[in-house]
């Protein structure tokens, strides 16, 4: 039995209310989807059109679906944390300490790795190739593999509901020695490690893929300094992915070696050193923050330029900012542990480096405001998100500069002030950016616009909920409240502010409902909100030159780029009219596109098994998973028919349909 099932026993199956609830809801949801697909006979359609697709646009949408589901999952965790902290004055509360600690660990891990990362990789997949005038990413198979590794990781982190019933109770970075076998003997930390290993591998491969795409697949004439700002910031972000995710992989590998094979990399005794882990994890962890932030900066740049109908002010500065931020972000990791006893010189160096990041960030904000000042701004709901960002991000940035000064960090570290700070940055910076991006690019993806009225309502609810939720945490931080408390003495008088924070959480929930309603209303009214031109906002970059949604090959004729803001340039110089009136019609060529492939799914499934085998110490399953994954790669390498051709006549047919619509619109 031990050979076949490792540590897995009957006792590992769900038997507590939250594991039973989690497992049951997942089974029911899965069953519902299964029945629906079988009933409507959509399995084949799903498999062929979506799951095995190599089209980065479809992969991008799938990223969004998974990330949205995980947002709900992480949001539920947030709600449970809030409820516990509101009730837990005295020794109250409805959760045990251990369970509470598992919840905030899961909340942090999910929100960073599976929500923000998922949304941003989805966006990059969809928008990057369109913005640089490419038909696909550099390595289509690698792209599906990256997505499926991410999806497998997302599933893996929820697997503990079914087997084991416990997640890591260590905080989202699982600092040893707490995360070592001695103090966390259960499988929780192993689930944490392997869900990150699987999805982290996906992130790394995606990083390589998109980086090569940007560097090698730009349309002719698009020099680096003619790239849209979003592409630049993604470049900065992807450079960080490629250079820091290997650190994460190796650090987690060492931790899992400690746990599975009794090694001593990070233990307190026998020559191990936990401080090594703290350094390693943060030298990935801090760049990770900017991996999430940089693309958001790019989104704001695009939106500001488009909605003020003006070239970005200080483009050169903004490019320098993106590169400076990505460079500096690798030199500041020690500011996460000024309190670990480094000398004053070391602390001061890293403190000053941290402060330096505020310079390019500040310059960016000034330049965006200058663009708006010079331009003719339209305050659409996307711009609302931008202004919300300027407000929250400046506040959070100020808190960040404070935390970057060691003398202040000694007092603020590990307090709720810190918690409030990074939530301000991730919500006010990255998440608002994602919402802005959704509003902005939604018509490109679906062919109709989102309802503006509900968009604005959702924004105001979000900003209110956000402030009500996190201002109390700043105040609590100044009261000296540490983070991650599952209960506290009633006499301390913290409960009121925790309850106010909870009120904010409820407002945020209402805001999310408003967003869902916005999408429903928009789908209902899609006829009125239809966008046939492909360019609803009077855009400046190449993605707006295609139809909405773009054809599978993105561009029938790869455009020649003469200037920055390529599409705006075409519109001004009259090239678009020429295209539309059919003069450029006859130059279509055959287009070679990658075929669908399920190899990515198979490899991810096998690696999923490897992770499961490591968690439960099932040797044969690990071997099967590993050999299976390698075999898939070998088999695939003998498959020479991975591409298909779209004939030029077909391209012409598809294009004339699209162009005719644009033509009619122009009349």
């Amino acid at each position: 039995m031990k050979f076949w099932f490792g540590k897995l026993t009957w006792a590992s199956l769900p038997h507590e209310w939250f594991t039973i609830g989690g497992a049951l809801s997942m089974v029911l949801a899965g069953l519902g989807i299964f029945v629906y697909l079988t009933y409507t006979k959509k399995w084949k359609w799903l498999w062929q059109e979506w799951l095995t697709s190599t089209d980065p646009k479809k992969i991008g949408i799938m990223y969004f679906v998974v990330a949205a589901l995980m947002l709900v999952r992480g949001g539920l965790d947030a709600g449970m944390i809030w409820l516990q902290q509101s009730l837990a004055s005295g020794s109250g509360g409805y959760l045990t300490a251990d369970h509470f600690q598992q919840i905030f660990t899961a909340h942090g891990t999910i929100m960073i790795f599976f929500v923000t990362t998922g949304f941003l990789f989805g966006l990059m997949n969809y928008i990057l190739p369109l913005q640089i005038g490419a038909r696909d990413v550099a390595f289509p198979l690698l792209n599906t593999l990256s997505f499926w590794l991410y999806a497998a990781g997302a599933l893996f982190i929820n697997l503990f509901f079914f087997f084991g019933g416990e997640f890591a109770a260590t905080g989202w970075l699982a600092m040893p020695p707490l995360s070592e076998l001695e103090f966390s003997p259960g499988v929780g930390v192993d689930y944490w490690i392997w869900s990150l290993q699987i999805s982290g591998l996906g992130s790394l491969l995606s990083g390589v893929n998109l980086l090569v795409t940007i560097l090698k697949m730009r349309a002719p004439g698009m020099t680096l300094m003619k790239m849209p700002m979003f592409v630049w910031t993604c470049l900065g972000s992807l450079l960080l992915v490629v250079s820091t995710f290997p650190i994460l992989t190796m650090t987690l590998l060492m931790l899992s070696l400690d746990r599975a094979f009794g090694m001593h990399f990070f233990t307190s005794n026998l020559g191990g050193n936990p401080m090594l882990y703290v350094n390693l994890i943060w030298s990935w962890g801090h760049p990770e923050v900017y991996i999430l932030m940089l693309p958001a900066f790019g989104i704001y740049s695009e939106i500001v330029a488009t909605f003020s109908r003006r070239r970005l002010f200080g483009y050169g500065s903004l490019v320098a900012d993106a590169l400076l931020i990505s460079g500096l972000s690798m030199l500041v990791w020690l500011h996460h542990f000024f309190t670990m006893g480094a000398g004053a010189n070391v602390n001061a160096f890293f403190g000053i480096m941290t402060g330096l990041i505020a310079i390019p960030t500040g310059v960016q904000i000034f330049n965006w405001l200058a663009t708006l000042y010079k331009g003719d701004p339209r305050f659409t709901s996307a711009m609302h998100w931008f202004f919300g960002f300027v407000f929250t991000f400046t506040l959070g940035g100020m808190a960040g500069v404070m935390l970057g000064i060691p003398g202040l960090d000694f007092q603020l570290h590990n307090s709720l002030f810190l918690v409030a700070h990074f939530h301000t940055m991730v919500i006010g910076g990255a998440l608002f950016g994602i919402f802005a991006a959704i509003t902005y690019w939604f018509p490109k993806v679906t062919g109709f616009l989102l309802n503006e009225k509900w968009g604005k309502r959702a924004f105001w609810l979000w900003i209110a909920g956000f402030l009500v939720s996190f201002t109390p945490l700043y105040i609590l931080g100044l009261m000296g409240v540490t983070r991650r408390l599952d209960h506290y003495d009633a006499s301390r008088g913290w409960q009121g502010l925790f309850m106010v924070a909870g009120l904010g959480f409820i407002i945020i929930c209402v805001a999310v409902c408003a967003q869902i309603w916005q999408i429903i209303v928009s789908i209902k009214e899609r006829k009125q909100n239809q966008d046939q031109s492909g360019d609803p906002w009077d855009g400046r970059t190449l993605e707006w030159s295609t139809s909405s949604p773009p054809p599978v090959y993105n561009f029938a004729v790869i455009p020649e780029i003469k200037n920055r803001d390529a599409f705006w340039d075409m519109k001004v110089s009259g090239q678009v009219d020429k295209l539309v009136s059919g003069q450029a019609n006859k130059q279509y060529e055959d287009i070679v596109m990658p075929k669908n492939t399920a190899v990515g799914i198979y490899i991810s499934a096998f690696l999923f098994l490897v992770g499961f085998a490591f968690v439960w110490h099932i040797v044969w399953l690990g071997a099967v998973g590993f050999v299976g994954a390698v075999t898939c790669v070998i088999f695939r390498s003998f498959d020479h028919h991975t591409e298909f051709t779209i004939k030029s006549e077909d391209v012409a047919k598809m294009e004339s349909r699209g162009l005719k619509e644009i033509w009619q619109l122009k009349q």
Binding site: L178, F313, F337, F366, F387, L408, H413, N414, G480, G493
Partner: protein
């Protein structure tokens, strides 16, 4: 939406806001009023300096942030016909603006960097506070889930509470016999990690009499939230009396008793020991060293040698 509907909605919103305000007033406000703002009410030399630094940095940043917010609001409020085209005609203005936008943050961050460098050296937790007065040495051991304090010179020990004379520097030597932790007394000054097999240092001082709460600030397992203690700051004479009082009892912390204590994993009430095993602190650290010897990359277990070369590890 008809006018009637709008009025009804308006009424509902007003009533909701009113009820919400009432609820906040009754339930939330009384609970906030009782609170002390630990970081804004410093009671020790270090905490006072850190509070001054907090105010200074906040002020400097607001100098830049407030005009920035005003500019943003101005753009939002500006109507199109009021648009002033400062840059439109001459392209060189973009260069001027760029110099301006780089210069402002550079000056701000430069000044903060100077403050940063100076304050970091000034507030270095390893630096003794005063050379005039001999500090009280207290050895701190973070256990699961309680704080053990050893007064090596007085040869007594306490659990989850501290008694110190006011206006006397305290030298904390910190280690752990459990997962990594962080030792924090907000009203006296910043925190410091305590880690198994090594010593970190923290110098604090209580300037006034009073009870100051201390916390474990780094997650370390199930009992994390209960790992609190109180530091009683009393007058010199009261401290002397307390010492005598403790010494008169016969509660011994032998190595065996310590082992029992460190394995007991539950919330612990404050406790006093009138006698402590010889160099218990050093013995606790030695547990984590191979054969009690020295390993490269690991600290020497001799605490005294750390005084010259402050950190217990080197970068």
């Amino acid at each position: 939406m008809s006018k009637k509907q709008k009025i009804i909605i308006l009424y509902l919103v007003v009533i909701d806001v009113f009820l919400l305000g009432l609820a906040l007033w009754f339930f939330v406000w009384p609970k906030i009023r009782l609170v002390n703002f630990a970081l804004l009410q410093p009671a020790g030399e270090v905490a006072i300096k850190e509070y001054m630094l907090f105010k200074l940095v906040l002020f400097l940043m607001l100098v830049v942030a407030i005009p920035l917010f005003c500019f943003a609001v101005f753009i939002l409020k500006r109507r199109k016909h009021e648009k002033i085209s400062l840059f439109e005609k001459n392209k060189s203005h973009e260069g001027l603006w760029q110099i301006f936008v780089w210069l402002v943050p550079v000056i701000l961050i430069f000044s903060i960097s100077v403050i940063n460098w100076k304050s970091t050296h000034d507030l270095d937790p390893y630096k003794p506070l005063s050379l005039k007065k001999e500090p009280i040495v207290i050895q701190v051991v973070a256990l699961n889930w309680k704080w053990l304090f050893i007064y090596p010179n007085e040869r007594i020990a306490t659990i989850n509470f501290l008694q110190v004379p006011e206006q006397t520097p305290i030298e904390f030597n910190l280690t752990a016999d459990a997962p990594m932790n962080s030792f924090w007394i907000p009203r006296l000054g910043g925190q410091m990690y305590s880690m198994a097999g090594m010593t970190t240092k923290l110098h604090l001082q209580a300037d006034q009499k009073g009870d100051f709460e201390g916390f474990a600030a780094e997650i370390n397992g199930r009992g994390f939230a209960d790992m609190n203690f109180v530091l009683h700051s009393v007058s010199e004479t009261d401290y002397g009396n307390w010492l005598k009082n403790v010494k008169s009892k016969s509660l011994k912390l032998t190595l065996k008793e310590y082992e029992r204590l460190s394995e007991e994993e539950k919330k612990h009430e404050p406790e006093v020991f009138s006698f402590v095993e010889d160099s218990l602190y050093e013995k606790i650290m030695e547990k984590f060293m191979p054969d009690g010897g020295y390993m490269p990359g690991m600290p020497s277990h001799n605490v005294d040698s750390l005084d010259n070369n402050n950190p217990s590890f080197s970068y």
